[in-house]
């Protein structure tokens, strides 16, 4: 049973196909309105999420399917102590495909191993978030026309930022990608990610300055310092305002640079930046829905074979 836990579960060719399907959905939405008729998507969100859950649900409704699930672990049997394994065993009796978010890293793999239907990882702790990466890739592809030959800056919480980890994993397969890692010392990218980039020949630099490489970037990927990833609130308070992107800080940036953010934002991008044509984070949200539609179609088609 094909599940998507890590962005690397999809080959480069499969990602290209998903982008092509998403583009076709954007052009010809009517052709897809009944593609998932009589199919059910279970959205199991053990951790609160507005965007990703609604995106999955909107994607399934637009494909003509139905949705069931829960939006908070407290409303599920997990609050009674049920394991992920057992929850998934039960839910896979009710649904044709599962989208799951869980605060623990690796929960999605446990779910995929237990499930008899495809599982799509909608975020497992600070680990992976492949469908956000699909949204990011479609946005970069639509805005820049390519996924090769780009200099991409990642700014903020690079240690716990699962969207960053997944996107970097994906980028290791494209040509001539340069990565600028902008973070406070305490929130640097984990070692295994640096090793992975080095092993794939991805060129990268680490800096604590948002301004230093601004003029060289084709894409600036901003992230939020996530309160829920800290055990110590003092550390969170100390680091949360490390980087705030404002129109002034964007002055040296290229005119065709794009600004991405997986959202929700707190204050790391000032509202004044929203009117800048380079701000693409709300487009990213819409693109996320199209890529989730394409992915749901793909895993259901494969499961039917």
């Amino acid at each position: 049973m094909r599940s998507v836990i890590d962005i690397l579960d999809l080959s480069k060719e499969e990602i290209a196909d998903l982008i092509a399907v998403a583009e076709d959905i954007i052009k010809n939405p009517d052709n897809y309105r009944e593609k998932c008729k009589h199919k059910k998507l279970a959205t199991l969100f053990f951790e609160p999420s507005t965007r990703t859950r609604l995106s999955f649900e909107a994607a399934m409704y637009e494909l003509g399917g139905n949705v069931l699930g829960f939006s908070d672990g407290d409303n599920s049997s997990a609050s009674k102590g049920e394991s992920v394994h057992d929850t998934i065993k039960v839910v896979s009796c009710y649904a044709d495909v599962i989208a799951m978010r869980h605060p623990k890293e690796g929960a999605a793999l446990v779910a995929a191993n237990a499930s008899s239907v495809p599982v799509i990882n909608a975020g497992d702790g600070g680990h992976n978030h492949p469908t956000q990466t699909l949204a990011d890739l479609l946005t970069i592809h639509r805005e820049k026309g390519t996924l090769d030959n780009l200099t991409i800056g990642f700014c903020g919480d690079l240690m716990f930022g699962r969207t960053v980890h997944s996107l970097i994993h994906a980028l290791t397969r494209y040509k001539n990608i340069k990565v600028v890692l902008i973070s406070p010392e305490e929130l640097k990218l984990p070692d295994y990610m640096l090793e992975d980039m080095a092993a794939h020949g991805l060129e990268y630099v680490e800096t604590t300055s948002l301004e230093e490489y601004m003029g060289e970037l084709d894409v600036l990927y901003m992230t939020r310092v996530q309160k829920e990833r800290f055990f110590n609130e003092q550390d969170y308070i100390r680091l949360k305002d490390s980087y705030i992107l404002s129109p002034e800080k964007l002055m040296p940036a290229k005119s065709d640079m794009i600004i991405l953010h997986p959202l929700p934002r707190v204050n790391e991008i000032t509202v004044a930046v929203d009117n800048d044509p380079r701000a693409c984070y709300f487009k990213q949200v819409l693109n996320g829905k199209y890529m989730r539609m394409a992915l749901i179609l793909k895993v259901l088609e494969e499961a039917a074979k």
Binding site: H102, K104, G106
Partner: protein
């Protein structure tokens, strides 16, 4: 120092000097009733010093655990006082329940029944990573 030959048992030779007690603990040799000889800092032509463990009983040994702990070890199986088999070890591709994931955010911290599985991701540096959260095994 003379330690007698064993008739039926196992000799773990070429243990990296200083590691024999770790091996002793990992294989739970303290639970055996037979004679177990631990030789530390024996002379070694190849490595200068080495440790040796002699077990005077034919027991099942998890070679994956040994390979993970120390690739240098040579396992000699002795039967009727003669060498029956000699095995050289290498770091196994996967280890199960040998080490535990220490990442407090890993799913294994809350789902107690899950096996702690680590995969070898870099043979040269001998890096093992948790299959769930990808944290490095230590």
């Amino acid at each position: 120092m003379i330690i007698g030959q064993i008739k039926d048992g196992i000799v773990l030779d070429h243990i990296t000097a200083g590691k024999c007690m770790e091996i002793y603990a990992a294989l739970e040799l303290d639970k055996l009733n037979c004679q177990v000889a631990i030789i530390k800092n024996a002379d070694s032509k190849k490595h200068g010093k080495k440790d040796i463990i002699k077990i005077d009983q034919a027991i099942d040994i998890d070679l994956d655990v040994l390979g993970y702990l120390d690739e240098r070890i040579t396992v000699n199986i002795i039967k009727d006082g003669k060498l029956l088999k000699r095995a050289h070890l290498e770091a196994p591709e996967e280890i199960k329940n040998v080490i535990k994931c220490k990442n407090p955010r890993c799913i294994t911290t809350t789902e107690q029944e899950l096996p702690h599985v680590f995969k070898l991701t870099d043979r040269e540096k001998k890096v093992y990573r948790c299959i769930y959260c990808e944290s490095m095994g230590k």
